[in-house]
Amino acid sequence: MGIVLERLPWVCGALPGGSGVLACADGFINWARKRSVWPMTFGLACCAIEMMASYASRFDFDRFGVFPRPSPRQADLIIIAGTVCKKMADPILQVYHQMPEPRFVLAFGSCANCGGPFHDSYAVVKGVDKLLPVDVYVAGCPPRPEALLHGVLELQKKIDAMRLAG
């Protein structure tokens, strides 16, 4: 974290009642982050359609503060929706490294989780966790949009558990 927030736990440790301040800071920062998770949509295959459906009006992701960003520079989360082919592995890594911190990864669908129905293929990476550290796995082939909403809610719980003090 930045210059100010890195020193905040030390400062709060020195002050009386500092842990309360730290908890407040944690709560505020986590609230701000989880209520505006902006995913970079990485739709690769059929799961992309379900992801698009969850952004659209029927399942409405915007009510959670989630709306898609086309560029990794503006995104908190990358949703890997679909089969990861070996040829696509390098672009995925490049794009992930171009995302600013804090960044999260959500593996959407069987193919992103473990290679899915194409596990034995010569051209498919057996799960995106072979390339990136995944935070949330959403199972399904394809998972329903409600499942993706649930996945983002689980990510929000994970963000809630983040602490400044490490």
Binding site: G2, V4, R73, D90, H97, Q98
Partner: protein, 125 residues
């Protein structure tokens, strides 16, 4: 220093401070993680190829040029507007001549097609 001038300086200072505080606060608060690939140019995950020079349509330049012209014209009208009542009919006539000349320029630009946004690409059978 009159109160009028002081107000302008304070306003300018606030404008600069608004931007500066936002950027400095961001610099102090945001996470700092060094990643060798993070500063690479984004081109959908691949190494960027080709030049980044883009050919833009000339219409943007023409519209901007005309805008600046008439914006400066309005800038000159403002001081006249606050003193017009005291200055009398001669000042009114002078301003009308000024506006008339610039209006003639606008009509000329219009007639020459400078205000045309879309081009006629011709009918395809």
């Amino acid at each position: 220093m009159t109160t009028g001038a002081l107000a302008v300086y304070v306003f300018a200072l606030c404008a600069v401070a608004f931007a500066a505080v936002a950027m400095i606060a961001g610099w102090l608060l945001r996470p700092r993680v060094e990643d060798s690939l993070k500063r690479t140019t984004y081109e959908c995950g691949i190494t960027p190829t080709g030049t980044s020079r883009v050919k833009l349509n000339i219409r943007f330049y023409v519209f901007a040029l005309l805008f600046v012209l008439f914006d400066v014209e309005v800038f000159f009208v403002y001081p006249w507007a606050v003193t017009a009542r005291d200055a009398g009919p001669a000042a009114l006539l002078e301003m009308m001549i000024f506006l008339g000349v610039l209006f003639a320029g606008l009509v000329y630009a219009w007639g020459k097609g400078a205000l045309q946004w879309d081009q006629d690409y011709g009918h395809r059978p």
